[in-house]
């Protein structure tokens, strides 16, 4: 135990934060406001989860303290207890915390009481005394997560979505390409665009040593342990089986709250996912998120579809052996898509690719019990101004993934490859990564995020279904039927009318 090291780390982080964050444009109103020392004696308390994504709260918090004279207290809690801690604070009205770095799937619960537990922020956004961030820089898919019923509640921060990472070096290897074509009859597409191509490639590369390191390698790597976040893998993958220009709904029928989760399209997606498990190590069924990333980072898997963290982690030479070899592309799509409302399959002339914002997309919301909503908003907005957000995005170790226009490369945004290379990225990996996310977040076809009360329970039911199907305990059909029954049961327990109303609000259904 070396306390010197701890102190050294803190100092290093602080210096890093202080030197690399550039000052931002302050409005004259803000300068005047700060001169009045408005937050003297005020402590903003934010509850967050114990993960890398919370690190910037500390660093930027200290900067904010210097700028405004207020104080920030960040309280970390493990993910397993996070939801519970937030809501016991809110139910009891204790109001110990001013803000929560919330997951998007908690939103339904915030709006489950007669008066919502979080406050709208539009009045703060318009106020020139607070740090300014442009809502138009927030990509459309993310914007949907930060608003409810058309009003803004969340301040932008992390932007989660899953894209497909692949080993470009291996997929472009001429000898392997020749063998692939011989076996499957078509040129190995780099990157794969459809789910069938993905499955073929994963199958082809599974079970032999294609990187000549003496160990058997795999087609893909994925975490499937129940109680983690495996259900997001299913959601990202299955989106293109049921979402199309003719149907945007994945979870429920907005007319009657009937769960769609066991439709034919969902079933085919689950069957393909179960097949996918054969193309990776069997032990995946007990892996946590990090373990799923490890296999890809060690260089032993071709594919991994997951969050932006993987792209950033791949750049760290201490953790990764694949720096400079990583390609990224939006999730594969399909030509033939099922419409669960009309109950028909339809074939399209082009690949239907669907974007997703699966994951937490951890961002601050303000508790209605906060005694200092202005100071709280000030702190959160400070972290969202362009300069600070950009700093966050380019640094992999912050766990904050890009989602604002200025994080992306031309023609989509204003960043440059050098910005990323400065932070340790290999130039080869930058553009595919940022392009993939840009396309994902701006895709007009999106799997609409499930944000109704009981979100935790619904997502968990899907998690169980996936776990049971993947382990072979149930057939995919049985697993999804069970999930359907769980959805019905949860909906009825929470009140079907209320759930229907909130579901419509969360997706902006106009009837």
């Amino acid at each position: 135990m070396s306390w010197k090291k701890v102190v050294g780390l803190i100092v290093a982080f602080s210096l890093l934060g202080l030197t690399c964050v550039s000052a931002y444009e302050m409005t004259p109103e803000r300068k005047a406001w700060l001169a009045t020392n408005p937050y003297k004696g005020v402590t903003v308390r934010i509850l967050t989860l114990k993960a890398t994504v919370s690190q910037p709260l500390f660093i930027l918090g200290r900067k904010w303290e210097k700028e405004t004279g207020g104080k920030v207290e960040v309280v970390e809690v493990p993910l397993a207890a996070f939801h519970q801690k937030i809501f016991t604070d809110l139910i009891t009205g204790m109001g110990e915390y001013d803000a929560f770095l919330t997951a998007s799937w908690y939103y339904g619960d915030y709006f489950s009481a007669v008066e919502p537990y979080i406050i709208p922020i539009e009045k703060f956004m318009k106020d020139p005394r607070f740090p300014q961030w442009d809502p138009d820089t927030v990509l459309p898919a993310i914007k949907k997560l930060l608003t409810w019923g058309g009003k803004w509640y969340g301040i932008p921060n992390d932007n989660d979505g899953q894209v497909l990472y692949y080993r470009e070096d291996i997929l472009t290897n001429p000898e392997y390409r020749k063998r692939f074509k011989a076996e499957f009859g078509y040129d190995l597409p780099v990157p794969p665009k459809t789910t069938d191509q993905f499955l073929d490639i994963a199958k082809f590369f599974n079970g032999w040593d294609w990187d000549k390191d003496g160990k058997v390698d795999y087609g893909l790597s994925m975490h499937l342990k129940v109680g983690e976040q495996a259900m997001f893998h299913y959601a990202s993958w299955a989106a293109c089986y049921v979402i199309s220009p003719d149907n945007p709904y994945f979870w429920f029928n907005p007319e009657n709250m009937e769960p769609l989760i066991n439709s034919e399209g969902h079933l085919k997606a689950m069957e393909d996912m179960v097949e996918m498990v054969n193309y990776g190590p069997r032990a995946m069924l007990a892996w946590t998120l990090g373990e799923g990333w490890d296999l890809f980072l060690k260089g032993d898997a071709i594919f991994c579809f997951t969050w932006g963290d993987l792209g950033a982690l791949a750049q760290d030479p201490k953790e990764s052996r694949v720096k400079g070899k990583v390609g990224a592309t939006p999730m594969p799509g399909r030509y033939e898509v099922y419409n669960p409302i009309k109950k028909v399959w339809k074939k399209y002339d082009k690949v239907i690719q669907v974007g997703n914002t699966t994951g937490g997309s951890w961002h601050p919301v303000i508790s209605r019990y906060s005694k200092h909503p202005e100071a709280t908003y000030d702190y959160c907005a400070f972290m969202a101004v362009k300069e600070n957000a950009f700093w966050n995005f380019t640094r992999g170790w912050t766990g904050v993934d890009p989602g604002r226009t200025f994080a992306f490369l031309p023609p989509y945004g204003t960043a440059s490859i050098e910005d990323y290379v400065e932070q340790g990225w290999d130039p080869h990996d930058v553009k595919p990564y940022t392009d993939a996310y840009y396309i994902d977040f701006t895709n007009p076809l999106q799997i609409l995020y499930l944000r109704i009360p009981g979100g935790e329970e619904y997502w968990r039911a899907l998690d169980f279904a996936l776990g049971k199907a993947a382990s072979g305990e149930l057939s995919p059909e049985e697993a999804l039927d069970e999930c359907y029954k769980d959805f019905v049961r949860i909906t009825n327990r929470l009140g079907k009318e209320r759930q229907l109303k909130l579901f419509r609000e969360s997706v902006g259904y106009k009837g």
């Binding site: 135990m1 309280v75 493990p78």
Partner: protein, 281 residues
Amino acid sequence: MKQKEGSIKRVFIWIIIIAGTLWMLFPFYWAVSNSIKPKIETFNPGSLFPYINFQPSLWAWDKVFTQGDPIKPLINSAVVSTATTAIVLVIGTMAAYALARYRWNIIKSKDLTVWFLSQRVLPPVVVLIPFFIIMMKLHLLDTWRGLVLVYVTFNLPFGVVIMREMFRDIPVELEEAALIDGASDWQAFTRVSLPLAVNGLIATAIIVFAFAWNEALFALTLTSAKAGTMPVYILSARSTRGVLFNVASVNTLLAIAPPVLLALTIQRYLVRGLTFGAVKE
């Protein structure tokens, strides 16, 4: 049991004893050996022996203490367990004395004893929600006090029932002599009985301490960031990047060391403690 035993039988017996002991020791050894493995050896299952298979290093210990924060949970566990033990010893021993030394007419002493014992029969999960709600309303969530309140409730049976048996073992004449000499009941209790029952108190204390330290369900429900005890800490340590065997071993050792080490010191009265006095050494 005196028996003439053939030497073959002896060998056989010793084999069983050694095998059994190795089995009991293996997980501890695995944890210790892993905790001093350097980073690259982490997933190498074949390297079991320090200095023979690998060079020991304190890398994992360093990592746990600089990147994690096991100090706070250790303190929390220590405070909660000690406070629980203290309260249980005080009011439990008092109650035990009453049950051992005094006559009870309406409800028999043995019935009261069994009633206390039945608290242990109650599965904690039955009172999980009510306690959660109570703590929520009293604003005692994530505090030491909240957890201590719950743990004393669950562990009072140990204090009461074990100490009752201990007191019944002590000849009553000594106290009666003191009473005749003019001591009050309270003085007889504190000056005569308690000192004689010290060994039993120690055994009870360690058992209660261990049970409080090891409790997971309520710790997980009622505490998190501020007052989280070792079980809470262990459960949250898993979810970060991959399972590093050496880091996991360090955390495990930190969590199990105090009660296990304490228990090694009390072989006396251990059986009596664990069986609530029903079986004596």
